[in-house]
């Protein structure tokens, strides 16, 4: 590969490779694969939890910044241990049992939500060689996996045997099903542009020109629509009516306590991270450092910064944007919310997809217009 032309001292591929060879020399191939699978699972689980803890702290600090207050500042320097303390607290809390509710569905619901966000988390490329599985249909798999979560929300609302939960679940169902459509179409627009659904190829194709700029008008519209619908899918910000605390107490997770509530909470935070990282990978070049063809010195310097730092940097930027939106706009009403999707975003999206097809067919994307400067191969 071309990547090997530049030295990358801080990448993790060396460590991963040495672990792999160590296991393969000491075990039979079947067991080696099994042990590697377990290691990958544990690593992803750990990453999932660490990112959730970090996100909770970051969100509280940024929220405080937007509201001109200090945020958590008692535990540790600048309150960094606050979210760990909260985690311990939630772990030792009692799980309260609800009478006259469907026990099986009540306890199964959080698992649907967390498993779906976990599946989507598994396909994200965090850096060079840092991807659990690289499906041929990666983008589509992300859409499919994230669509299971809503079943958990619906079941939670129903099995709680509580009117507020039920209302929250119905709102959430309507909202999720509608905005999922927009998110899918926005991703399809970029699939048309780059001609692949595989994340590794998507990242490789954005070496010199991010998809956001490559498809100019059409890409930018798709990016904005994807950010809006991703935001709506995670029930946050101005779109948080499924759990609008002033009217529905807490929506579908009103009756949940302790760890079962923790699952919903964790999945909500991680879903924000997941849609931001998918946007990073699809629109902003993923883990690929900024490079300009011809300027080898600059490229060398850029490659010294490891790929995962690039990935988390770009994703962090998008998360900041999403928090900015969250604390800047008042909550929408349910009919406004559905109007926005079905009467504005979806038609714009369909036209946008056609425009992208025309751009690709007439070869007027930036890489098509300036092949000497920006084309990858």
């Amino acid at each position: 590969m071309l990547l090997l032309n530049y030295s990358q001292p801080l990448e993790l591929s060396g460590i991963i490779e040495s672990v792999d060879t160590f296991l393969r020399t000491n075990m039979s191939p079947g067991w080696a694969t099994f042990v590697e699978g377990v290691i990958v699972c544990v690593a992803i689980l750990a990453l999932y939890c660490i990112i959730a803890l970090a996100l909770i702290y970051i969100e509280r600090k940024i929220t405080a910044f937007f509201q001109a207050r200090l945020g958590p500042n008692r535990l540790g320097p600048y309150g960094v241990i606050q979210s760990i303390a909260d985690m311990v607290k939630i772990l030792i809390k009692e799980i309260i049992h609800i009478n006259r509710s469907d026990k099986f569905l009540f306890y199964a619901a959080p698992f649907f939500v967390i498993v779906s966000s976990f599946l989507a988390f598994g396909v994200i490329p965090f850096g060079i060689d840092l991807q659990a599985i690289d499906f041929n249909i990666g983008v589509f798999f992300y859409t499919a996996a994230s669509s299971i979560g809503i079943i958990g929300v619906l079941l939670a609302g129903w099995s709680s045997n509580n009117k507020y939960s039920m209302l929250g679940a119905m709102r959430s169902g309507a909202q999720f099903v509608s905005y999922e459509l927009s998110a899918g179409f926005a991703l399809m627009t970029i699939v048309v542009l780059s001609g692949t659904m595989q994340f590794s190829e998507l990242v490789e194709g954005q070496r010199y020109c991010w998809n956001l700029f490559n498809g100019h008008i059409s890409s930018i519209i798709a990016f904005i629509i994807f950010m809006i619908s991703g935001h709506a899918e995670t029930n946050r910000g101005p779109f948080d009516l499924p759990e609008a605390e002033s009217e529905l107490t807490a929506g579908y997770h009103t009756e949940y306590s302790g760890l079962t509530f923790g699952f919903f909470y964790l999945a909500e935070y991680l879903n924000m991270f997941i849609y931001c990282s998918i946007a990073t990978t699809v629109f902003l070049g993923g883990w690929m450092p900024i490079q300009i063809p011809g300027l080898d010195a600059l490229n060398e310097v850029m490659w010294y910064i490891p790929s995962y730092v690039w990935f988390f940097g770009k994703t962090g930027l998008l998360i900041f944007l999403s928090l900015w939106v969250r604390w800047s706009f008042p909550r929408l009403r349910i009919d406004h919310l559905l109007n926005l999707e079905w009467k504005y975003l979806l038609p714009i999206n369909l036209v946008n997809l056609l425009v992208m097809v025309v751009i690709v067919l007439t070869d007027t994307s930036l890489a098509g217009l300036f092949p000497s400067l920006l084309a990858t191969n």
Partner: protein, 195 residues
């Protein structure tokens, strides 16, 4: 070896949850058990390395149709209430019908299993090939069936809208009728009270 183990696991999940889906007395639980069956089938596709069908199974059945099922069950009268037991005649006729279905499917599968063994190569199928097969007009390309299905879906949507919407005039009439009936009831009640 691992393949067979995983296959047996998936098969047990599929069979057990299919039986539960049919025998459960709560409608909503049946829906959830059916969801597990669909996810197990998706697992089988993943085993076959057919990633596209795997994702379609999850996105369309688990994420789309099951969500609609569950929402539709929510909208029915009392979704938690127990279902009445069927009469013996209904049990016999439906089991006969399902056995016929199994026999038909089994016959087709047994007849074609040799052909699949020779034609399917077992390697991953490229997304672009699938797209070409669905959108092409040449031999072994299926644009026409694809479009016919979309016409069917369009007809379904139009039909659903026709059933769901009421004419404004009719709605007014309905409203007035119910109002008149309410008034009548009230006046009758008043009369009875007076007597």
């Amino acid at each position: 070896m691992t393949d067979i183990l995983i296959f047996i696991l998936l098969a047990i999940v599929i069979v057990a949850f299919s039986i539960l889906a049919v025998t459960s007395k709560h409608v909503i639980r049946s829906a959830v058990y059916l969801l597990f069956v669909l996810l197990g089938t998706a697992g089988l596709y993943l085993m076959l390395n057919y990633h596209f069908l795997f994702a379609v199974q999850i996105a369309v059945y688990a994420g789309g149709i099951m969500v609609l099922f569950i929402m539709a069950i929510f909208l029915t009268h009392q979704p938690g209430e127990n279902v009445r037991k069927k009469t013996n005649w209904k049990i016999v006729s439906s089991s006969l019908l399902s056995i016929t279905g199994i026999a038909l499917c089994g016959y087709i599968i047994v007849k074609n299993i040799n052909r699949i063994a020779t034609f399917a190569r077992g390697e991953e199928i490229d997304m672009q090939n699938i797209g070409m097969a669905m959108m092409g007009t040449e031999k072994y390309q299926y644009l026409l069936p694809f479009e016919v299905i979309s016409v069917l879906l369009l007809a379904c949507i139009v039909g659903a809208i026709m059933i769901a919407r009421k004419d404004k005039e009719e709605e007014k009439h309905d409203h007035i009728k119910t109002r008149i009936e309410e008034l009548k009831d009230k006046s009758e009640n008043n009369k009875e009270n007076k007597i």
